[in-house]
Symmetry: D2
Subunit: 284 residues, 4 copies
């Protein structure tokens, strides 16, 4: 189970939404304690809560986590290149090359065990903009990630992303046996339905690991669906702050425990960090 | 949620498996109390526990339930015609006509709100025999059930059963808007997979109600899958006595509560008997 | 069957690719003669062959067709708003409002019987740009089209487009019973596979008409797949100039005849313009 | 492409339906000439046309074919054990063992390159009986076939057959890399729809070869669907005598040519016998 503790979207109204590095790290540690074997790491500006790509912020969060937990897997995002997104804009216009190095450098610090590559663009209805991850940039990132000895993960939002991922594998930009993530329920990507997740699972290489998850109210249902399809689970404040309609989670660990109980009722079990490392082919 | 409290298969080893009419009725009442809005009723011989088709046994069980609960919906099985199944054999060889009347009569007593029709045959690996429900018999039963003012339910085990159900609807043997049940994981019918249940759901008329369930260890996972596909749920001792691997349920109510908790974690809610009657178009 | 005679992509190398209005019209007439009941109309600059949105060009092509054929249905594209696409750029930057009126006006001339709305954006690998059709613009176009008494058609490239179409229907921007078109095999949208087309068909309202087609070498296979799924067919030079590998079509009528033969071998028949009008609910 | 020249069902009304061994062989040779690389062989009584399991009849047909064609692959059926089917009844009641040897012996003569195993039972609506192929018999046949150096082929009619095939593979009764055949449109098995064939294809091991075909009017459409799903094709008088509605085929070669033309229009090609042997892993 992955817990995505803060994300990079505008922060929802919640008494305790984590954005300061120390708070994000504390949430990560508590989530790991509650059962999460992977933490999906985004960082935010410690004053404003805006998404941050600053290397120092990543350095701090990762350091605080590792100081107390050496087991949990850190899945650090390469983020999205979003025109208009404060803090990113100047890099984007200056030079793609800079941007790739900027984003990847932020991710390579402290050698997280897994790295997160967005396969495609996303139409972000909440923000009214289009976030682009274009082919050459992704290919470059893919090679840099592999050279740095981290495991890339391919995040797909749409049907075409799987075709794109196949092309990337053919070009050697990503190895053939990487885990996938399906993001369902975004506006306007693959919907959060059983049929869409089954379609997605049928597009990836046979035997490939995947995590299917849904945004907002689709979080728990899609976690259940992913498990039923043989996939892994992701929950966390990045996706929703609600356990279910009308019932807000106190924190990420609360969300993780809720999901652990759901999986247990469904007859499943959550893998430990060690078991997860084995599943993903990461060294212990 | 339907609770199938005892079924007609050989009884598993369990400290408290219900077969005496008073026990079956008590289990039904407790299951209803725990949240089940429909009870799927089979009866057994009060001495041996063998499946019974005796009208008196049904009369007793239904009477005991109704004495204390007038709300819960009773879904009484028409059972299977199984050559070699003790108690049924002579009727089967004598005359199909008798068999139809015998089975349906057992079901019409006390006008249960829903009736259960097996659409097809089932290869019963545990018993080493083939149970047959042939077309003319089912058509006849279908008409008798409708004439008696009960709502038939079509139980499908295999892909071809949906084609068969379509033919029955075309012949007027069953009305167009009947609920369906998908039985998954039997040997050898549709497997207990997401793909099979999605396939099944895509075969029924748009908007038709359905309950997808899995036998034995597939019970809770398939209950979750059915909910995710917009269907209803069935659990109970007829399908399994285990909540999950290594964890036996004390009784049917225990199983129902477990499933209620699972549904809650998934963000769903269980309909009351009244809401269920509305959903199925049964009079209150 | 729809024949899309010229499209708006860069023209392939072909001895006789139609771009002059008289040639485009002649191709349309010949395609109709060969069996196409719908002509998908794009126009090009008579000198350069570049895509044109000029009202006069549409006026000429449509006029030439109608002068000899009053039966065939004309499906006129609203085109794509493409930054960097010559002829469109200035309108786009000036004002969205102008753009909508410009594009729709081009389409309303001569009251074609059907209008074509691109539901989403398209990543155009050949051109290296992203073509955007954003929500407010489409909604506006949708209303204008309906007010003008033409039947809109929703063209979907990706899974998310179906969710978007549902939202448009909820807003009344498009009526509930419009025909759909699935464009498969583009980079990077839904792939040209049976599974993707089945997925697409399962997303549209029950009973809705659809045309599934594939670009380039996927043209004939996807035409066959659409027919097998209960859909309609589209072929034409807009999609490919090849009948099959190594066998170039002389002209659009050649392509249409080839497809007619394929459908015949599969046991199907092509509807006449009159039958098509009935199917789509267009007045005769 | 497989051509199934005569089958074992009651013969339809046709001026030239083959049943005499010399005629069956002639049809097979002509079909191979027209493009079929595999002939699916059933034999019939030379007087009555009833299905025959007589070794001598197989011997004659196969001999006549091989006398003129050493290339085409012969796919000899193990047939079905049908209570009530004349000519089979006595063997069935005497001893399962005899039946297995009887049927397999009929198939092993002249070492055909492929053997056909019915995975399951079939409800034969036309004949009003249930044909049974039970597990122990199939397992035994499977072993005998492999020991005789022939390639078994698994014929599936229903969803559960795939689960059954998996079990057989686990028991070593059939090797893991055998070709499959999906029979669609029978009463009451998997329907002749794109969705059912896609479901079927998704159940077999990744990379396994398969032939999907449809009975009667579903023959050409399902041949097209199989091709689109990456499968092989089967046509022939065993399945239908019609090319399309109202258009009867003169003979099997006629049917094969029609299918070859359909495949060509779809952009495909038919493999030669040599290419087919390579595909199936048969020695040249």
């Amino acid at each position: 189970m992955t817990c995505a503790v803060t994300g990079s979207s505008p922060m929802p109204t919640h008494p305790d939404f984590p954005f300061r590095p120390d708070h994000v790290a504390a949430e990560a540690l508590a989530a790991a304690e509650a059962g999460a074997s992977i933490i999906h790491v985004h960082v935010r500006d410690r004053e404003t809560g805006d998404p941050s790509q600053a290397l120092e912020d990543y350095r701090e969060v990762v350091g605080l986590i590792r100081a107390k937990n050496n087991e949990v897997i850190l899945n650090v995002t390469t983020g999205r290149a979003a025109p208009g997104c404060r803090g990113m804009k100047t890099r984007r216009l200056r030079s793609r090359h800079t941007d790739v190095h900027g984003r990847t450098a932020a991710g390579t610090y402290s050698r997280p065990a897994a790295r997160h590559v967005h396969a495609r663009h996303l139409y972000d209805a909440a923000m009214g903009r289009v976030a682009i991850n274009l082919d050459p940039m992704i290919t470059k990132m893919g090679h840099m990630i592999q050279d740095a000895g981290v495991l890339p993960e391919i995040e797909c939002f749409e049907a075409g992303d799987f075709v794109f991922a196949d092309d990337l594998m053919a070009k050697g930009a990503i190895p053939k046996h990487v885990p996938f993530t399906f993001v369902l329920g975004t506006k306007y990507g693959l919907p959060a339905t059983s049929e869409a997740m089954l379609y997605a699972r049928n597009q990836i290489p046979r035997g490939a690991r995947f995590t299917g998850f849904g945004v907002s109210r689709h979080s728990m249902p899609m976690a259940a669906q992913s498990m039923l399809l043989g996939g892994n689970i992701r929950v966390g404040f990045e996706d929703t702050i609600y356990l279910r309609r009308g019932q807000m989670a106190a924190n990420n660990a609360d969300m993780v425990r809720w999901a652990v109980e759901m999986v247990d009722r469904m007859g499943g079990d959550i893998a430990s960090a060690g078991e997860t490392r084995a599943m993903l082919g990461l060294k212990q």
